[in-house]
Structure formats: C-alpha cells, structure tokens
Amino acid sequence: MLKALSNRWAPASGLPLNLQNLVPVISFLALLLAGSVFTEVFLTERNLSNLLRQTVANGLISLGMLIVILTGGIDLSVGAVVALGGVLYAGLTDTLGIVPALLMAVLAGAVAGLINGIVIARFRLQPFIVTLATMGIVRGVVFIYTESPISPAHPAFRALGSALLGPLSTGMLIMLACYLLAGLYLNRTAIGRATVAIGGNVEAVRLAGVNVPRTITVAYAISGLLSALSGAILVSRLGIAQPSLGAAYELDAIAACVIGGAVLGGGGGSVTGTLFGVFTLGIINNLLNLLGVKSFYQDIVKGSVIILAVLLVARKKRA
C-alpha cells in the first residue's frame, strides 16, 4: 500500500534517496532524538499516544489543504469549517445519534467546500479571496447555530476521538485511512491525476479535454469534508464544542503541507510528504509544550521552521 502513497510527482530518475530528499527524514529523526534527550516524558507511552491524538486534527485538515494546493489554490476557510463540523456533530448527537450526526457534520463541511470550489472554478476568482470570505461566512453561521459551547450527554460521544483500538485512537485510524484513500485518489484515479497536473499547467490540462472546473471544485469539496471530519473528531476528544474552535488552524495546515514539500501555487507535493509535515509539526508542538516554552515563543519557533522548510524546497528546485 505504501507504493500507492509514494510521491509520483517527483520523477523516479536518478537515485531515489539523495541527500536533499533525506533532509526532512534526518530532521525528523533529530527531533525524536532531541525529544528523548531533553525531556524524560517524551518517549513514554502516555505522551506518544497523546501526541498521536493531537496530530489527528491537523492531519486531516492538511490532507484536504494538500489537494487544494496541488491545484494551485489555497483554502483559508478550513478553520471555520472545523468549527462547523464540530458544533454540528456535538449539537446533533443527542437528537440523531452518533453516526447520523457525524454524517451531517461531514456533509455540511463538504457543502461548504463545494461552494468554495464552485465560486472559484466557475467564476475564476482568486482562491485566496474567496476562501477568506467564506472563512468569515462559515464562522458566522457557526455562531448563529450556537453562541455557547455544546457538551452532549450521549455516552459514546467521546469515542470518536478518544477510544483506543490497539495502540491507536479511532481518530488516528480514520486519519490514516483518509491518507490511504487520498493517495489512491491522487495517484490512481483519472480525476486525481488531473488534480496534480492542473497545478503544473492548467492550460495543458484544459486542452487535454479534462473538465478543469469540476476537478478544482471536487478538490475544495474534499478539503471541506476533511476539515469538518477533523472538527468532529476534535470535539469528541475535547468533550466540548466551542463555536470559536479552529481559529488560525489554516496556518498549521499550510505549514504542514509546505514542510512536507508542497509548493504553494501548485507544481509539487505529496501525501507522504504531508504526513511527514504533520508529524514534524506535531512533535515540535509537543516538545515545546513538554519543555514548558510559552506559546508566543512556540509561534516564533514554528514560524522559523516553516521558513527553513521553504528554503530547503527552493534550494532543491534550483539544484
């Protein structure tokens, strides 16, 4: 299955493992080493399972973001859609039950993404502006739905985010399944290949007879769907759904994609790379927390890491 996830964007010419490609892997291992050396708790089972659970939310959002970035776009509305998915899931659980509530939440996210996609692809508007606007609109809808936090009484409400299946949480398994499906989508379906190609040269793809607006619209719908799913899992883990949930989550998602080698504006990026970026960012967050670094210092560190990652990608491109 790993083969389906492997990066098909990069040509398989030359050595697959040159030093440039190894830089993220080496930094990742260095982070793990630093974690075990500088803190006592990092390598404990409790912390690692915590880390994995905390990574799920950004993992799902980043995956949708990657698909959008591959088309040359950006989705700034993901944070608001996380809140939408979260409050709907929490708000509907007690009346509808777990599964219908989850379906409704995910559907709402997909619709929000669909609207993004239709506006962007049919009217050829800039994704940045459109999703900036829908970010505000969706957030407004969330606050209209509920101004106060929702905490459902349903006994199984917290299962989605917290229940363990073996060493992994339900949420983590869902996330990994989504990565696998996304890998199949991008590498093994016609629309997926078109998605990847659009970021490289949209006109060539249009002239190849591909329905470009539809391909782009689907990308945004997937992003909305995954963000809402992320929101549902997140509120399930926290046990409570705040309407202010997910603020500024788009930044971590974009960061994870970029750290994983995605190129803003299209022309590069992979599912495996993004998974890497998500875990790298998750470990950085976790370590800084364990080390008791104040949150504003954490922002400085994260910002620097992002610039470093972009620098590496740029150098690789020039090489």
Partner: protein, 513 residues
C-alpha cells in the same frame, strides 16, 4: 528629443567602425543550434533588414544583440569597442534599444509612465516625481514619432494592439538610440501608421542611428531598407545591398534547402471529405474561412504569424469560443464547446507552444502522455498503471522517444522528444483529425524526420491532418493540398503539384492574389 546617450562613451571613432557588429555568434539550446557562427555589422545611418523564416534565428540574434541572451561564443563590438552585454539594461545604457514584437508594456500604468519607465523626471528639491514634466517629455517623444495627439494618461491595458505598438516605439526612442532594433514593427499596425513609422525610421536613420529591421514582409524591405541580411537555419546565407537584389532572389536565399528526403512517400488517394468548414468567422480573428480536409489527407495551412491560422485551429478544437459558420465532421454538424467535446469526437490539437500549453513540466513522460486519455487507463474508476505503462511504452517505441524511461520528468527531454511526447498524448487519445500547429518548431532535424514519418503512417491509416506551419519545405513536403492564410482570410489554395515556395510566400505576404 533628449540625447543623453551620446555621452555614454560609445561615440568614439564615428564613421570608422560600424555602430554595432557581431562576429561568429554561436548559440545552442540543448542539442539544437539556434545560431551557428553568425557575423553581421550594422552601419550608422543605414536601415539594415534581417529576414528569414520562423526558426531561422532572427529573434535569438536580436536577443543577443540587446543583451537579453548571452551567446555561447562570438563577440559583439560597439563602435569598434568589444562589449559584453550581461542584460538588456546594459545594452540600453550603451544605446541599444529594441521595439519588441510582443507586448512589454506594464498593463496598469499610464502611457506616460510606460514610455518613461525607469527614467521619470523628479523634482530637484523634493525628489518626488514631477508628473507635469513627465507628461511633457512623453508628449515630446510622441511628437517626434508622429503622434501629437495621444492619450498620455490612458492605461496601457485600455489601448488597442496598434496603439500599444506605438507606445512600444515611443518607449524605445525616449532617448535617441545608437542602434534601434525593430522586431516585426508593422505586424500590428494599420497602413497609415506604417507610413508614419517609416517616416520616423528614416528620420532616425538620417540622424545617424543604425536601424536593425526584422521583417517577414519582403515589400517593406524594398521600401525601407538599405541592406538586407538573410538568415537560414541559424546561419547567414547572404548579406547584400537591397539595390542589388529582388524578391525572388531573397526568397531563394530564405528557403533554398534540399530536404526532400525528409518527407515520407505516401500513396495519394482520392479522399472522401471528412471535415468541412464553411464561412467560419470570429470577429477580429478570421472571417470567411472555408475549406475541406479529406480522410487520409494532409491539408497544409501556411501563413505569417498573426494571419489567423492558430485562431482557426483553436476554434475547431473548442479551445476558443466558436464564432459563426458551420463545421461538418464525419458527416455530422460539429460545434465543440470545449476541448473535451472535440476530443470525444476524435479531434485533437497539438498547440504551437509546447511548454506553454502542451506539457506539464515536473510531471513524468508517462503522466504527460496519458493526460488526454486517462479514462481509458481506468478499470472500475481506478487507474490501471500497468495498462497505462503498456500504452505509453508502445508510443515511446513507435515515436522513438529518447530516453525510453517513461518515469523521467518531461522537462529533462530535448525539444524534439518533448514534442513527440505531446504527439503521443494525442495519439493515445485516438484522434482521427489531428490539427498540428507548428509541430516541428524548435525541433532538431532527426526528430523532424521521425515526426514526419509518424504523420505519414497515421495518414496512411486513415487519419486526417491539418498541418499549420510557417516552415515552407514542411508544408510543401507533407501536404496534399495547401491553404494560405493572410490577415484572417484564406488568400489562396493550391494543389500539391501547383504549389512552390515562391508562390506560397508571395501569396502569404499579399503579392499574389
């Protein structure tokens, strides 16, 4: 007009040395030679025309003369002093200016600001831009070139193509140049504007500027130029005084090559009509275009750049909106609204700009070749990668694409092989009408032969081909019938037997009706 360039240090030895001369210029792109040792000198007070077919090396040469490109070998001397031009700015400082054929204006800036880009006058005390002075200066430049009434404050984006060309010209001569290079300046100008441009060019010449005049139109060379240099395949085939030559002589120098053996021998059949186009028209692009392409037939379409050939092709492929007129394809009315429509009907277009809209750089040969036929590689909605590999591998073999590894990034291939990948894409989509727009532009001779051979094979198997090309030997060698387009209309149609290079060229440039 301002003449600040005269004190730039390049003015030594006036009259002794040519204003600008190039010696043994060589330029390669990958494996293809764009220029193979070109030597030419331009004298002050002379209009020196450079002619040649597309791909002869004219634009590469002018780019090297202005500093936009660096030569691989050879030297450039300015007034007898060897110079190294690292970028166009350096060329400009030394007094070499160019009027570009393509648009170099900044769309959202005014006419004044475009003309004086980088040299807007500033107040001596404040350091702020003195707009009144700027408009005065821009106006005086426009006065010089014959346009006393021009909308100085209009944004470049609101101007017509002709007016933009005029602003281009004003921009180039905002400082009197030592050398002025004009690249097809008349291509977008109307008759009276062309006359004004001639007047101005002559005045600049009499003022002592060396004029380099690139053109396709042989008429204007005899009207304007003192000397003419002919380029062919990156080499000079002749450099002579205009008074000592005639059109036929120039045409011979431009096209006279013997590559008949490049083209496959095909058995001619009496073709059944496959595509029929009647009175196709799109405002501002082409009008009254009618022609037919038969089954297993190659119809060539020759014409100068901007004559409307590409627009007709894009329209047939559904890439541009249809205007009016009717198209019948395989006996049914055909009105593609998107490239997808056209492809489903078996119509494919290989565009003239393979990097711009033919290939996705960064993706593999496999992905590029399969792009137009992805659904064919799918089983139950999932891409069958081994089926895809077999299909692509077969094309790589048939087209002799090198290297044969289909996972390579397509950008690492040579121009000829890249073009074969684009061709493979359309062959995998199983097109039965192939519209080929400049299929061998920037392609080396070996790849050309391969591409011709493939076209020949396809046609023998029944495919219809509309071959758009500026390459005369190609049009003549490949086509069963040849259409010539000029200014958006079909200016002539020739059967294989009655066409020759002189007739096509004359028809395309309007000498023969």
């Amino acid at each position: 007009m301002n003449s600040s360039v005269n004190n730039s240090g390049a003015g030594k030895g006036v009259g002794v040395h040519p204003a600008l001369s190039a010696e043994g210029i060589i330029k390669r792109y990958g494996g293809t030679h764009a220029l193979r040792g070109v030597s030419v000198s331009f004298q002050r007070g002379e209009v020196h025309a450079i002619v040649g077919e597309n791909g002869a090396g004219k634009s590469t040469l002018t780019h090297i003369l202005t500093g936009a490109l660096r030569a691989d070998a050879g030297s450039i001397t300015l007034d007898g002093v060897p110079v190294t031009l690292r970028d166009p700015l350096e060329g400009q400082r030394l007094g070499i200016r160019m009027v570009h054929q393509h648009d170099t204006l900044v769309a959202h800036l005014s006419v004044t600001e475009n003309i004086l880009l980088g040299q807007l006058p500033r107040g001596r005390r404040s350091g702020l831009i003195d707009w009144a002075a700027a408009h005065r200066r821009a106006q005086s430049v426009l006065d010089e070139i014959g346009y006393p009434h021009f909308e100085l404050r209009a944004l470049a984006s609101t101007l017509s193509a002709a007016k933009r060309q005029i602003v281009e010209m004003a921009k180039a001569v905002s400082v009197v140049p030592q050398v002025l290079i004009l690249d097809e300046p008349s291509a977008s100008l109307a008759h009276q504007d062309i006359e004004r441009m001639y007047t101005f060019v002559r005045r600049l010449r009499d003022h002592g500027t060396a004029i380099v005049y690139i053109s396709h139109r042989l008429d204007e060379i005899f009207e304007l130029a003192d000397r003419v240099t002919v380029l062919r395949d990156g080499a000079v085939t002749g450099s002579l005084a205009v008074a000592n030559t005639d059109k036929a002589g120039l045409v011979r120098l431009m096209v006279g090559r013997d590559i008949q053996d490049l083209f496959p021998q095909r058995s001619m059949r009496d073709p059944r009509v496959a595509l029929s186009v009647r009175d196709l028209q799109r405002h501002g692009a082409f009008e009254g275009v009618s022609f037919e392409v038969g089954e297993a037939q190659v119809v060539g379409m020759y014409g100068l750049v901007g004559s409307g050939r590409t627009e007709v092709a894009r329209c047939l492929f559904g890439a541009d909106p249809l205007g009016s007129g009717t198209i019948t394809w395989q006996g049914r009315p055909f009105a593609p609204r998107s490239p997808g429509d056209a492809l489903r009907a078996g119509v494919a277009l290989l565009t003239e700009d393979r990097l711009g809209d033919g290939l996705v750089r960064g993706m593999s040969v496999r992905d590029n070749a399969a792009l137009a036929s992805l659904p064919r590689d799918c089983r139950w909605g999932v891409l069958d990668r081994s089926r895809q590999r077999h299909r692509v591998d077969a094309q790589v073999r048939d087209l002799a694409i090198r290297p044969t590894n289909i996972e390579r990034d397509v950008a690492t291939l040579s121009g000829g092989n890249q073009q074969k990948v684009v061709l493979a894409k359309w062959l995998l989509a199983e097109a039965t009408l192939l519209i080929l727009d400049e299929p061998t532009r920037g392609v080396d001779i070996a790849a050309k032969r391969d591409i011709y051979e493939v076209i020949g094979r396809l046609v023998d198997a029944g495919t219809s081909v509309l071959l758009i090309s500026s390459d005369l030997p190609e049009v003549l060698g490949m086509s069963d019938r040849i259409l010539v387009m000029r200014e958006g209309r079909i200016a002539g149609a020739f059967d294989r037997g009655e066409a020759n290079e002189e007739r096509l060229l004359s028809c395309a440039s309007g000498l023969l009706h």
